[in-house]
Amino acid sequence: MSSWSRIRSWVRATIRRPEMEQEMDTELQFHMEAYATDLVRSGVPHEEAMRCSRLEFGGVERTKEECRGARGVGFIETFLQDLKYGARTLRKSPGFTIIAALTLALGIGANTAIFSLVDGILLRPLPYSNPEQLVSVKGTYPKGGFVAMREHMHTMDVAAYSEDHEFNLTGYGEAVRLPGTLVSAEMFSMLGARPELGQTFYPGEDGAGQDNFVVLSHALWQQHFAGDRAIIGRVIELEGVGRQVVGVMPADFRFPSARTALWVPLHNDARNTAAYWAGDFMPVIGRLHAGTKLEQARAEIKMFQSRVTKMFPWPMPAKWNADVSVVPLRDGMVADVRGRLLILLGAVVLVLLIACANVANLTLSRATTREKEIAIRSALGAGRKRIATQLLTESILLAGFGGVLGLVFAKGGLWLLKATLPTDMPRLMDVRLDWRVLVFTAGLAILTGFFFGLAPALQSSRVAPVESLKSAGRGAAISVSQRLRSTLVVAEVAFAVMLVLSAGLLIRSFWAISHTNPGFKSEHLLTARIAPNESFCEEAGRCLAFYRSVVNQAQASPGFAGAALVNTLPLGGRITKRNVDLEEHIAAPGENAPLFWLDVVTPNYFRVMGISALAGREFKDADEAGSTVAVVTASTARRYWPGENAIGKHMRLLKEKEWRTVVGVIPDVRAFDIQTSEPEWIEGTVYVPYNSSATLEDGRVPAEMTIAVRTNLDAAQVESTLRRIVSGLNQEVPISEMKTMEKVVSEAVATPASTTSLFATFASLALVLGMIGIYGVLAFLVSKRTREIGIRVALGARRQDLLWLVMREGAKFSFAGIALGLAGALVVTRLLASELYGVSPMDAATYFSVTGAMAAVTLLACYVPTRRAMRVDPLTALRED
């Protein structure tokens, strides 16, 4: 009852505010008049009675204020009033408002943009049904291992997939090469993904002989089949094999990544032992059965792992999948980018803190000039709390403007981010500004307003009215406020140092990366992938003849200085692995022969790529006819024949009849990524000439080759020439991935490039804000001390003295900030270690140069205020106020 009446009175008071105000006036008026009437009746003269009545009643405004408070509407009332008042104050000083709002908008905008990434990639649930049940198995399994898992696991359903396959689509216009993913039959149903059209795969449709089906992506369906609904049931030719289209997935289905254009069932064939147990090692995902805990699945997969190892037709190394586990699918998908995103988030939070400190400083200097206004309000009966609340409301209002403007910046920023970040970043496509991000931004704005508004608000509410009103704007509060401002500026500089230092390290690291010698000459080099169907190369002769013609015609083309083929282009993202026997290193029975990276090349490959032999020779045209020769990289030669000459040693690909003679050693090529030539599980690299004995694990010669052309012609000319040559030889062979080698290299460094450029952006923001901060504080200081400076000048102070006077203050902030920042950076940059290449997080050169640069920049910020101080005219200064 009581609480009900309270709510009613509260609602009434809020809705009928003007009426209530009016009634309150009437009531108080009545009281004073009634009292005065009584006084008159008792003989007091009328004038005197009126005065007396007002006096004895006490402060009317104060009473009203207390009444409003008592009615429980004080807070809304106050808030609305403060908001209105705040808006008016902000409008009155547009310069301050614009600068502060812009500063905040930069901070909030950057944070919103990065948060939308973090949210879209790390936080948001996966877009599948009951995503909390979805898990990813840490470890990869061949088909046989996966099929065994599917039969044995009781805690979850599992599905396997293999990305990065390519399929030639022929018979629909020009032949095209499409990226596709092999999936086990239950993949779609397990994810709970429904097709936009038709069906997905039924259980069992991944067994050999029952697997001639394909599911298309929405994009492929639109681009190549014009969105024709009659496509369902039709048979299309993929890699020379007819597959029936059973379904089309909706546009927002992007598993495992947005690259996938089509899904084809795994081809599980237990009779093909090599493919079944040694082919693709695939990632496996699963869906926990209802009520099953992650721990149970973990325990079961460990048991399964020990069982599956014994199922292989040959002994498996003990370390294979030794750390097998089960993790939530989302964590598994984004594990690689989590660290980097969090680092970026940390960086923008620093930017926001700097922005906050800056605006707090601006507000503080304004508060000092507003001291009189506040003193008057306080003298009129406003309590400390009331004044602080009002100032805080003003700050939050300001942050609100900043937030709205920040959203605009965020929208642009997100667009830029999507353009800058490497396209293979998982879930990047899902990132957008939606209500979750809006809530974040709103919360951030309010928090920001609170953050930068609190100190000035508390500061100002401490103003002593009498003191302040008497001494024209030079109240006692200044010294306290000055200390606060100094602290803020020092913090600002410290944060900026940390950011600039991180950016400096990343830039140095990126410089190192982009100036590494990859081992080949990427200028004037164009590459394109040529890929006949797998079956085309079943007959090695046909395949070799086709490629020989391609190379011969390309070599003869005008403007082509040289053309060569390679199965795995350096930094092209592919590896061909092959076990080899090496002289003096024959694996004992039961042991595995060393696993090498096999490069199959045409004889002039090294010349075209600009790689020259360190010892021995490169391949000759004669090697193509079938000489049993090989070339190894320097690190391979060192590893297997240390201190010896590798030339003349013998080796062979596993199951090869004849031994090959090592005829040359070439320098290591950065082939795996820009930092390493091989992944760690590869034990060497060998080059063999492209002929019928250059076989892959499946016993065939490589079908897919990349052509590298050294030329001064532009890409379009080369592309059309190559297309003409290839289609002249075989209509069904597509050309894809047409790129300059420089582009291939730049894609390989896309990740560090994007991190570095983002950090550089944040650091420059921080630097500019930090400079403004120091400038602001010093300028304020000088303007407050004009009188003092005037006296000094009048007493004969020299220009140097004044210079020293101001610069000393500036240098104090600058050096304290830099020292603190360096200390902080020692800790912070350690988090960066994973992103750094070729430079230590403690790199002395970077620390020195950043320190120097920061000192210079901060002192530069002192320049204008110092000049102003030096120009002070004693007469004017003393006449001030």
Binding site: S2, S9, H31, R62
Partner: protein, 114 residues
């Protein structure tokens, strides 16, 4: 010291107001007058402080208000006790009496009684 008015004890103003309006509806000024009258002018109430108290009591639902006409035909706001207010007043009176007994007991304690 006997006749000099004393300030209202903190927290007791609410009780006095409830008591005053329990004797019949009053406007704000009337409340003031009635308290002075029944206390025989021994209590001093800051006039302005009356209104926040009235608003607070009304907000809590212990008194209700309506507009009426004063003795000299002026529009005035009259306060009356609600049912909840009646219970509250009884409660408070009870509590006050007990408290007053205890305090009086303590203050009148003599040395030999300890």
């Amino acid at each position: 010291m006997g006749n000099k008015p004393v300030d209202v004890l903190q927290g007791t103003l609410d009780m006095l107001i409830l008591k005053a309006v329990s004797l019949g509806p009053l406007h704000g000024y009337g409340v003031l007058l009635r308290i002075q009258q029944i206390s025989k002018d021994r209590l001093e109430i800051q006039q302005g402080s009356l209104y926040p108290a009235l608003y607070r009591l009304q907000h809590q639902g212990w008194i209700a208000s309506e507009w009426g006409e004063s003795e000299n035909k002026r529009k005035a706001k009259y306060y009356r006790l609600t049912a909840a207010g009646k219970r509250k007043l009884l409660n408070e009176t009870e509590k006050w009496n007990r408290m007053a007994d205890v305090i009086a007991g303590i203050l009148s304690t003599k040395r030999e009684e300890v």
